[in-house]
């Protein structure tokens, strides 16, 4: 029985994980930085849990040249459910403190990792859809009719260099994942030796 209980430190860390999930709701999760000769100051697309932010109007204004569909928050169901998912994650983290069971924490880590993988696939799917569903009547025919931003990292797209990386909220989620992993590691591997 007792061996499945959590240490005080793990509980504190769980509270921290919960706070990170909540915090990530208020800052952008992901960013795509765009640079071009005409935009020395750079353009930025920021994905929040609940909306698309940054220079989205300017980017939408440019999309028509290559026939890419314009981006609108309301066209993505994800922005409706993501805040609830992160809210739920935060709640679960806090409930885990009271459940006080290392197996439950491990289960949550598995759920979170699965979520991250799913989110990555979903993000790639959208990138692919927007990058390939180009209007054939557009002024500029993109070679290969593909203009897909990178899932993560850097890619040159015609005159734009696109750099896709986590934003503050994304790093908070990374932090939450690492903390969860650390708790699990500590509880299962190092518990007896301490």
């Amino acid at each position: 029985m007792k061996e499945n209980n959590l240490t005080i430190l793990s509980k504190v860390l769980l509270v921290l994980v919960g706070l990170l999930f909540i915090g990530s709701l208020f800052v952008p999760m992901w960013r795509i930085e765009l640079n071009a000769p005409q935009y020395p100051e750079g353009l930025m697309l920021q994905l929040h849990a609940n909306k698309i932010g940054g220079d989205v109007d300017i980017i939408n204004g440019l999309n028509h040249y290559i026939g890419m569909a314009t981006l609108h928050t309301e066209n993505f169901f994800e922005f409706k459910i993501l805040p609830y998912i992160f809210g739920a994650f935060a709640l679960i983290s806090l409930i885990l403190v009271f459940i006080n069971n290392r197996k439950a924490v491990f289960g949550f880590l598995v759920v979170f990792v699965l979520f991250v993988i799913l989110a990555g696939i979903d993000f790639y799917r959208w990138n692919y859809e927007y990058g390939h569903n180009l209007d054939p009547n557009a002024a500029i025919k993109v070679p290969g009719m593909a203009y897909q931003p990178p899932l993560i990292g850097y890619k040159q797209l015609l005159n734009f260099g696109a750099y896709s990386i986590p934003d503050t909220g994304g790093w908070m989620l990374v932090g939450a994942g690492i903390l969860l992993f650390a708790i699990v590691l500590k509880e299962f591997k190092f518990k007896k030796s301490i």
């Binding site: 100051e41 109007d57 300017i58 204004g61 040249y65 002024a139």
Partner: protein, 661 residues
Amino acid sequence: MKNKFVQAILVIALGSALVSSCKPKNSGDAVSGDAAQRVYVAPGKYDEFYNFVSGGFSGQMSVYGLPSGRMMKVVPIFSVDPESGWGFSEETKPMLNTSEGFIPWDDQHHLELSQTNGEVDGRWIFANANNTPRIARVDLKRFKTSEIIELPNSAGNHSSPFITENTEYVVAGTRFGVPGDYDKGDVPINTYKENFKAHISFIKVDKESGKMDLSFQLRLPGVNFDLSHAGKGKSHGWFFFTCYNSEQANTLLEVNASQRDKDFIMAVNWKKAEEYIKAGKGKIEKTKYAHNTWNDETHTGTSVIKEEVLVLDAMAMKDICYLMPCPKSPHGCDVDPTGEYIVGSGKLAALIPVFSFDKMVKAIGKKDYEGDYEGIPVLKYNSVLHGEVQKPGLGPLHTEFDGKGNAYTTFFVSSEVVKWDIKTLKVLDRVPTYYSVGHLCIPGGDSKKPFGKYLIAYNKITKDRYLPTGPELTQSAQLYDISGDKMKLLLDFPTIGEPHYAQAAPADLIRNNGQLKIYDIKKNNHPRVAKGEKETKVVREGKKVHVYMTMVRSHFSPDNIEGIKVGDDVYFHITNLEQDWDVPHGFSIRRAQTAELLIMPGETATLNWKPSKVGIVPFYCTDFCSALHQEMSGYIRVSPAGSNVPISYSLGTNLPASAKK
């Protein structure tokens, strides 16, 4: 015999070689070795200072970077500007309205940056119009003329637009004495002495918005007010004006206004004048003047004709104005950063008198007068004089300060800038200018806090300094390094129009003042705005046709318009839908009788067109906006006057019959 002849030739040759070697070396030697490095601003790097330079007879203001001398912008103020549509678009026409209607030109001489606590604050710059007396305020967030106010009872608005140390007032003294608008004006010219008066205007400036309001005018004897500067620090509350033609000549002024040994610097206690105004001593006089304001949300100028002005007779109030005798037709009137010293520059004098504010206050207290001039007390020269700079040069004009106790005065006749010590009045250094310098500018050089690294001289004559361009040559500015003991010439650069007074400020002060990048289209309250392509339309109202059009990279909406007839009066109200920095669009129509429109992101502007020929008329974007700029165009069908082609308009749908299947 032969030997003697050879000897004589030798002597003559040697002699002339000696004489010619005595001739001073040419100006090329005046530039020191590292000058090129000192003014080189690498591509993509910013200049250290903004330099705002008056455009003289161009009527505009130009903006340069220092130390590079690169011109960045010409801001249209008092003259029409076909490049930007200033004075051509329906919205900007009211900005050039006056009590005698639309005036397309003026002569812009002096600029003054707004100040707080006597320091340049980077909010606005004020400009004068010399010919048709007006003062403008240019907003430095937008680099756009926001307001123009006409000055009644004035002619030749030269001694302006100088400001008090918290920009409480902009003042404007008349260059020509003339009968006031409320006096009988139809008088013989040779009755100058009885009928001509001079007025000085005090324009109140709103602390927050900068809005100007002609608060009151001082009525003064008919003389020519030339230049002015406000007191600062201890002399805050006073204003100083040079005046010439105290002879009150009305013909051949060149001779007749140069008779008296001394003219005056007039000290005005404007705080006292305010008290008299408050006490109701002013008199409301009938007149007419235009007050034009620009609204950034309707993107439209409005001109209001005002009909009254409050005039305070300074000759009747004995303690507002005092005259300090100043040698020989004084021009520049400059107050040092401490506010103690007032420098008068007699154009024809061989010395520079420096007056002391403390001595002046004492002399006024003791009523140390040598007499009066049409009711205004004249103080004794020696009672108010701090001292004279002896033999400084020929034809002193203007003085600026470096904040380290030095004054720098320009000399038109001897074509040089002379540095001298304000306290000891010793000449410290002199450098030539090329040629015949008028004004000079040190960044912050007429404020309490000069930045004192550079000095710019503005020259009237350039002769051999640039490649020749026919009879009319460029005017120029010259940049000097004044950081050391000796002034060093660094750079020559050409200017637009004729540069007179200029101002300069550290780049960060202007750059970080909240520079506007775009106009928010949500706040666009133009009465005929189209905030999206869905709101575009063409409406006929009798002979008038209003086209509500939008522009965005890279098309107009609508771009096919039919139903316009010869004799129509067509108004294109065009909104630039862009909300991104540096994406203006232009608009022009073939044979339009006016200039193009240049429309900023989020702005609406209107072009009026009266078609007189039947046919198809193209229009296009004039500002290379995008890769498909050349495609940004459209057609208008103009039908005969009696035609019954209905109004129709479209974008992307009006395809040829062959394409519709």
